[in-house]
């Protein structure tokens, strides 16, 4: 049985796998601290979302925008503290792949909503259509 090894090659420390954390000298304690910060921030943002949804503190029509802003902030927290995506040079590949993913997601969601809103706007009301078919 050959043992499976994965000894890092020379200079491998300059590339990071996605989600990989560099623990450095302070080790595990530092890592736990990072996850704790992430947990507290994420829980706070979640609580804020649930609170502002019904508090009436935010002007009614602006509530969806506020919720989206809080959700995007929380996704950022998850990416930084749980998935360890940073702007480090050794993280460039991971961040670029993420940026491409975000671009496609934005195009799909934004584009669908835009097109469908346009179609709805240009369509006759359902009652009129029924009349014409009669």
């Amino acid at each position: 049985m050959s043992e499976i090894r994965d000894v890092p090659a020379t200079g491998d420390e300059f590339d990071r796998a996605p989600g990989e954390m560099r623990l450095g000298r302070s080790g595990i304690a530092r890592g736990v601290q990072g996850y704790l910060i992430g947990l507290v921030l994420a829980a706070g943002l979640t609580a804020a979302s649930f609170y502002f949804c019904f508090s009436g503190l935010i002007y009614g029509p602006a509530v969806p925008a506020a919720l989206v802003a809080l959700a995007v902030a929380q996704m950022g927290v998850h990416l930084v503290f749980f998935l360890h995506i940073t702007t480090d040079p050794d993280n460039t590949n991971n961040a670029l792949a993420l940026a491409f993913g975000v671009l496609i997601v934005t195009l799909v969601i934004g584009g669908s909503l835009w097109i469908m809103a346009n179609l709805n706007h240009n369509m006759l009301p359902m009652s009129k259509i029924m009349e014409m078919q009669r």
Binding site: I4, M21, G27, L39, A42, V68, A97, L98, L113
Partner: protein, 217 residues
């Protein structure tokens, strides 16, 4: 400050910051398996996000198409959603601790953290099944309206991912028991951790777009 630093201060070229030929950038040879396995799985996760985005777009377009049936405002129970959210966030946290335990090669803490991850993930799934069963029993299943079809597709797809993740989690615990923290097992654990954190990110979008926006006055 060496000459290399002056030319390439951030070490993004072929040479790393110490002037050693860096792997994965041409001169130093290919990146190690640890790096490209993780990167490949990252690409899979991003493509999964693109798939979810299509379901989100469908839901957003169809959210108002209730066909005379109940809307989200009448159907959703935010208490249930809050419990689900708490379970999944804590599960994600426990999963992070498991990855630290794996990095420290501590089998006991790894199993404790993974068991916590599993319990919380299973609790999330329990809340979701309770909600789905209640809706179906009241005749508000996916066949009721376009809105409910889109709802069950989007949220159910996330639930299926969680189910698959739970099975994967148990597999990883069994593999650590049977094979220990071998390099290939560690890579699999790493991919699982990525998957689990990504599912929590999708849930953030779901509880915001589906539940809170559906319920907002």
């Amino acid at each position: 400050m060496t000459a290399e630093h002056a030319i390439d201060p951030n070490g993004i070229g072929e040479m790393g910051p110490k002037g050693v030929a860096a792997t994965g950038r041409g001169a130093g040879g290919p990146a190690s398996k640890r790096v490209y396995v993780g990167y490949g799985f990252w690409i899979f996760i991003l493509s999964d996000m693109v798939m979810f985005s299509a379901f989100f777009a469908a839901y957003a377009v169809l959210a108002g198409a209730t066909a005379g049936g109940p809307s989200g405002r009448q159907l959703f129970d935010l208490n249930n959603v809050a419990w689900e959210t708490a379970c999944l966030l804590l599960s994600s946290f426990a999963c992070g601790l498991a990855s630290l335990a794996a990095a420290g090669r501590n089998a006991l803490w790894f199993h404790v953290a993974m068991a916590a991850t599993f319990t919380l993930g299973a609790a999330f799934l329990g809340f979701e099944i309770k909600e789905f069963a209640g809706l179906a029993a009241a005749g508000d299943g996916p066949q009721r309206s376009a809105f409910l079809s889109a709802f069950f597709t989007l949220v159910g797809c996330h639930g299926l991912h969680i189910t698959a993740g739970l099975l994967w989690l148990l597999t990883m615990m069994a593999q650590v028991v049977a094979k220990g923290f071998r390099a290939d097992i560690l890579r699999r654990i790493h991919c699982f951790v990525l998957f689990w954190h990504a599912l929590d990110i999708v849930w953030v979008a779901i509880f915001t777009v589906v539940y809170l926006m559906g319920k907002a006055p």
